[in-house]
Symmetry: C2
Subunit: 180 residues, 2 copies
Amino acid sequence: MSRPPLAKEKILDAYVSMLCDDGERAATMEATAAKAGVSKGGLLYHFASKELLAQGTIEHLLTAHEEDLELMGSAPEGPASYFVRTSTSVGGDLDRYFLAVLRLAQGGHEPSVKALEYIHEGWLGMIQHEVTDKYAAEAIMLIGEGLYYQTSMPGTWSTGTFGKDLNHLLKQVERLKNGN
Amino acid sequence: MSRPPLAKEKILDAYVSMLCDDGERAATMEATAAKAGVSKGGLLYHFASKELLAQGTIEHLLTAHEEDLELMGSAPEGPASYFVRTSTSVGGDLDRYFLAVLRLAQGGHEPSVKALEYIHEGWLGMIQHEVTDKYAAEAIMLIGEGLYYQTSMPGTWSTGTFGKDLNHLLKQVERLKNGN
DNA sequence: GTCTATATCCTGATAGAC
DNA sequence: GTCTATCAGGATATAGAC
């Protein structure tokens, strides 16, 4: 646990990168091995099957999510705004692993679907704690998920539309929060 | 155009069904042919490649979308509410083809991504015509897209969460519309 | 721990009979 | 228009050398 083999981390990182950048179809074991700088056999020593590769990714995501939930709970702006704001971010550890698992889930990988449902429940619970109006909380969740939906789109879509406008969007979230 | 071969429609219908129900990976040409009750060779007479199969699906979607835009424009409740309300529906022609093309897009199929972007623009334009506040319109679009995101999830997720609660969600949309 | 070589399977596509 | 072979390519996974 304290000193995992370097190669193993490098392989998982390459796999996640390929999932995010090139889609699930491109993230084959051969391509992952090549990107990580090892051979197919070398990869299979650390991850004996493709399923174990996916499993390792999910575990990383759940760890990152646990840390994020604490940040979300203690965010000065409140959990709801924190959630929507971070829904547009790309590059962080959580975002990388989330997108990777999202790709797996969209490809029909059941364990990934379950993991995303679990994370979804964690977010919703924290937002509902802040926003007492149940339906306002759900609307805010949907806005964040709409942003994730765009992020998950291949190609140019993920980058566009928002960015500098995020502050204006957060004002809409404020309006939903303050039930008026 | 007026009398397309029955088998061709049956094949495309089987393909769309498999995309929606079992994901892009399961929608192979062999499985599609089997579901449509023809052989692989029979399928390839009507669709000479898998790409043409996807293309036919996109064309059907664009046709259904065109019809839907007219309904959206003349909806008594207004385009925004119409958009959010129909974002949860499953079973209609538009929803079936939309989900099918969404699956293709999520699999990295570029023409499908372009088609969804085009449809997205059509919806956004109509909502912005009703909701003058640009950012409120974008927030409403995101709610609808969040609903699509959930619909696109394989497994049980697509059915849950909303349904009877849709009316409450529409009240949140009303609040965003009436910029107060 | 890492590599090469190979086995097995599946998918999209072709050729040609009926 | 529809079928039965059949092929070429790619993917996961195994076996065994170093």
